[in-house]
Every structure is written in C-alpha cells, then in structure tokens.
Amino acid sequence: MCVDCGCSIRGIEEHTGEHSHDGGKTFHSHEHQKAHEHLHHNPQLNDAKTVSVIQKILDKNDHEADHNREHLQEKGVLGINLMSSPGAGKTTLLEHLGDVANFKFGVIEGDLETERDADRLRAKGIHAQQIQTGTACHLDAFMVHKGLHHMPLDDIDVCFVENVGNLVCPASYDVGTHLNIVLVSVPEGEDKIAKYPVMFRQADLILITKTDLLPYFQYDIEAEKAEARKIKPNVDILEVNVNDVQSVKAVAQWIEFKLKMRA
C-alpha cells in the first residue's frame, strides 16, 4: 500500500527506478507514481465529492486584518476605524482633534475619488494618506495594509482609518484596527441607529455630532441613545459639536484613556 495516501496501487514493491523523496524513509517506483497520477487526476475515476468546509467567507480579509493589528501593536500604535454616512463630520472631527489632542496621530483616508480630505488634514499639519477606492464602497484590510506602509508609525500614537462614508458596507469588513468609532449627525434625522444596526453594533464609541443644530431639528437624542444600547448595551456615547471645544476634548480624552489601557 502507498504510504503517502493509503491507495492500493501496486508498484511500490517493484524496484525499477526506485527513489526516495525524504532521505530513505519511503520509496516510490516511477510506475507507482504514474499510476497514482492517473488515479487522482482522471476525472472519470473521481466520484462527486462533498466537502464540509465551515470557513468564514471573509477569512482572507480577517487574516490580513489580524496581521495589520499585530503590526500596529508592535509599533505601539492604537488603530481606530472611523465610520459614518457621508457628511456626518469625520474629517471635521479629525481637524479639530488636531488642535486639542495630547497624542500624535496619522490618518488613512478612504474615499471613492479625490485627495480633498487628505489635503484638508495636511493643511492642519496632520499626516494623511489617501486611498482612492474607485467604485468600492468600503475599505478592506488589504487596502489599509497598503496605507499603513505610508504611515510614520514610529512617530505616532494613534492611526485613524477614515472609512468610506457609508453606514452599510464598511460594517462587514474588519480592517485591522483596535476600536471602532461610529458617527451619526443630528441632521441625518432620527432612527438612523435602528435602521443600520449592523454598523452601530460594531461601535465601541458612538458620536452624535452637530448637536448645535438640535434646536432646528426634531431629534430625540435620548431615544437615539436608548436605541443604540438595545443594539450594544455597553457602548460609549458622546455628544459632539465642533464649535464647543470641550466636546471635542471629551473625544480626545476617551482616546487617551484607551491608549493608557493598552500600554
């Protein structure tokens, strides 16, 4: 019997053209090898096969995400994935964080087109790397990996990944950060949290932004918070209005606390 796969092709006993692949432990004849290939590569001899797999469909992405996280970990950098719908205030928040934060940060920017967000941040002296996704509606771990190569990881404490503005697709992809911050702005209207539960389930911190506009909108902020905690009971929530520097400082403090907890 063949010691490699247990098949019962004759030939291993014959000594014509005998050779070894592993330093003399097992020997195959070329006849055996030929018969072997015939058996395993002839489709007519192969019956229908059912294989049980049970593997995550995004297995490769998750693997790459773990790799990104390890890389950030080695460099002592905290990775934060920022997600929201377009226009909720991700870039604006980062601009203002630059003024108040006690930590140094860089930003990997994901957008379908243009360098505009990265340019806005660079104007503030923040290191920003733009990834243009073309038509892709989300960043995945492979795109972020490329972005990480352009980040000065030795000089920063926090690396933000500003995801493509979208409350649906980015939620399915682990990009390899440690924490997720999800923004939702008052003008987007009520029920956004209940309507996009997969996204808000991913959040470690939810920021309700543009709260200075509350007087002009019918927006029950306490009801929104309750909705969020139905989906994620232990989620942190902060109200942010970039015209109120204290509210931006509170976000910086949350991040500083998380930095300390990973020292």
């Binding site: 096969k49 049970i54 593997q55 995550k56 469909i57 995004l58 892709a136 509606c137 399915s172 232990n234």
Partner: protein
C-alpha cells in the same frame, strides 16, 4: 453593494478548495448568512450568479441558509433566536448575553465533480 466583493472572496475560496480536491467543477455551494452579517441574501445570490460565469462555479447551484441572531443568556442560561435586533435575554431581560450565531457569513459545504 459590497455583496460583489464578498462573492469574489467566495469564488476564490471555492476555486482553492476545488483545486485541492482535484475537482473539475463545483456543482453546489452551501453558505450560511447571519441576519447581522451586514449582507442582503438576495443581493448575494444575484452577485454570485453574475460573477460565477467562466469560473469553476459556472454551473453551481447556490444555497443560502439564513441564520437568525442566536444568543445565549449568561444569567439564566437560555439559548434563543431573536427576530428583531436586540441584544438582551428574551426571558430575564439580562444584558449579559453572548452571541452564538448570526453575525457572520460562512461557506459551509461544497459539492464537486
């Protein structure tokens, strides 16, 4: 519409497994899609049937088993499936629940020839 990206990952996975098993074609692909995975099953099916052309899955049947959100209560020990999105125990209202299933997408089984 990230369903197309997900289908690309799935087709690559099928191809790898088929090659490992010396199969000429894949005849059936069975998946499990969680209610909280962020994927719309109907769109996933449309995407699969569009992109399978010319791949090893060209003639494959695509099966989606939908998985509801399944939670285990750490207080009362109950295991239950929920229809609406709520992460607390339906019996004792405890917030100490563990997600058992329903948040991921899996390739479960492949039938090949």
């Amino acid at each position: 519409m990230h369903e197309y990206s997900i289908v690309q990952s799935l087709l690559n996975q099928c191809e790898e497994i088929a090659m490992k098993n010396d199969a000429k074609k894949v005849v059936k692909v069975v998946t499990k899609i969680g209610a909280m995975s962020g994927v719309e099953p109907h769109l996933l099916e449309v995407a699969f049937n569009t992109f399978k052309e010319g791949t090893i899955c060209d003639s494959a049947e695509f099966i989606i088993n939908k998985q509801k959100l399944k939670l285990e209560c750490k207080e009362c020990g109950g295991i239950f499936e929920v229809d609406e999105v709520r992460y607390f125990c339906i019996k004792c209202q405890s917030l100490k629940v563990k997600v058992v299933d329903g948040e991921d997408m899996y390739l479960m089984r492949l039938e090949m020839e």
